[in-house]
Symmetry: D2
Subunit: 159 residues, 4 copies
């Protein structure tokens, strides 16, 4: 995998608790992105974050974890590049600042803050069974999520 | 004005650009809170933040500004206690972490992130012509905004 | 006490554990600053921070606490304006960014990081029995600390 | 290169401006670490950060950049994993929180704050022609820097 600061970076955002369908969705999206040599950023925790990072791992990609805490113990086992912010959920903004676009999967208020930051930075965001916010594009399948976010990023890579 | 760490603290959240009606609403809310010796926290900038802080000033209260930047130059002239975070909009989370509840007035994605943080911290939030988010209580007048948020805080002061 | 964004703001930095002499020094400095209507910022915790804030209280001033945690419970009882950063010691930079100058009293590595930030921002810093760092001016008494920092600030108020 | 959250991570800290000798030292350290499959974290900017990241690149390793700003434009061309904190030098703490140990090379007050954080977290730090701080071990060559920091980390890997 060729890495540079120009490599496409996508954040997968979602909660610690999620439905089985959402966890499978996160895994599939992670695998697709990993297979395409796209860097995947998550919050590094359990639930959607872990399932997605496992998919990245299986797809041969690299999973970055922008963690709430100060040690890597809290990182799920598929995080390969841990960033320990020690800032709790203030790290939500760092997570989406660091990427070209975001895919939201279900999620609660934390995910909502991440969607808000992403759209506030004028970056594309797509969502699966998540908050209904103007500017966020709903998608139905992992393939559609990846294809849509890459198309949207294609027209505005300046991050 | 008697100040202690137990003094009630309310955040007024809203954008740099706002309608005349919203600016008046922010002023009125600030004045009401200032008159009741409630500490008012804003982002310290222009628009809703400035109008509210002016109201606080006229009401004889204290306006805290949790600023995006690193100098007090960007603070509006009514900020009395400036906090220079230098963190840009990552400071949104600090702003609402520091208070007992929040009043949202119009606002764009930045305000949405603040609403998300407030509700995620299980603190009460009311809103005037702002985002329609489950958990946020809509209000129609400055008086209703202040009365409602104080009632909601009354039952859950543990911050 | 007349408050505005132009009011002089001084940070008192030092540790949770301190000698009796240092605690007395912190109290005296806080009292002197409070009597002169200077806003005092500390980290809001125990030790030097608490002793100084108590002095501010007795001097009739206002003590701001820029806290490590997310609730005001950790604030010492003399903090009047709590800011809950939830960032742990990353808040050290916010503390000294927010003021015109700093007085360091004893202290360990946390205090050293605050001295480094203060001097890096080209703000004046004086110290009592603390780290010996180029640019930090040593002082021997609370009166000398206050007089020296105010003189140094007088020539460079642009924050 | 096998990556996991247990991979050794080292921060190289130093300034935007540096002597030729220090820049060469940074390059050599980066190359040695890259060849040994150790993850290298820097602040992602010019000077020591760029020279080190170029060494990592030539050594076949991975260079993480924990940036001050909000876009990857400011990252030097050798950063492969950019983290855009948008927090200015508050990111200094995140940089050293994320690693097992740090190597300081020359540097000014920013580097001093990073040394302070590293030692405050009870992580090992070595330094080349940098601040003389108790707890920081001076080294004379890139080989000695790498060998010493790895030995010190070996006895306290719990991050």
């Amino acid at each position: 995998m060729i890495l540079s600061k120009h490599t496409i970076r996508i954040a997968i955002i979602g909660g610690r608790k999620a439905s089985d369908e959402a966890l499978q969705f996160a895994y599939d999206v992670g695998k697709l992105l990993g297979e395409q040599d796209i860097l995947v950023y998550t919050g590094g925790g359990p639930g959607i974050m872990e399932s997605c990072s496992r998919g990245v791992h299986d797809g041969g990609g690299i999973a970055v974890g922008v963690l709430k805490g100060s040690t890597s113990e809290e990182a799920n086992q598929y995080v390969q590049i841990p960033i320990m912010t020690g800032m709790g959920d203030l790290r939500n903004g760092i997570l989406v600042r660091s990427v070209h676009g975001a895919i939201a999967i279900e999620g609660n208020y934390g995910t909502l803050s991440e969607i808000a930051y992403t759209l506030g930075y004028e970056k594309p965001a797509v969502g699966f069974q998540t908050w209904d916010i103007p500017g966020l594009k709903a998608v139905d399948s992992p393939e559609q999520a990846v294809e849509t976010i890459l198309n949207l990023i294609g027209t505005q890579i300046n991050v």
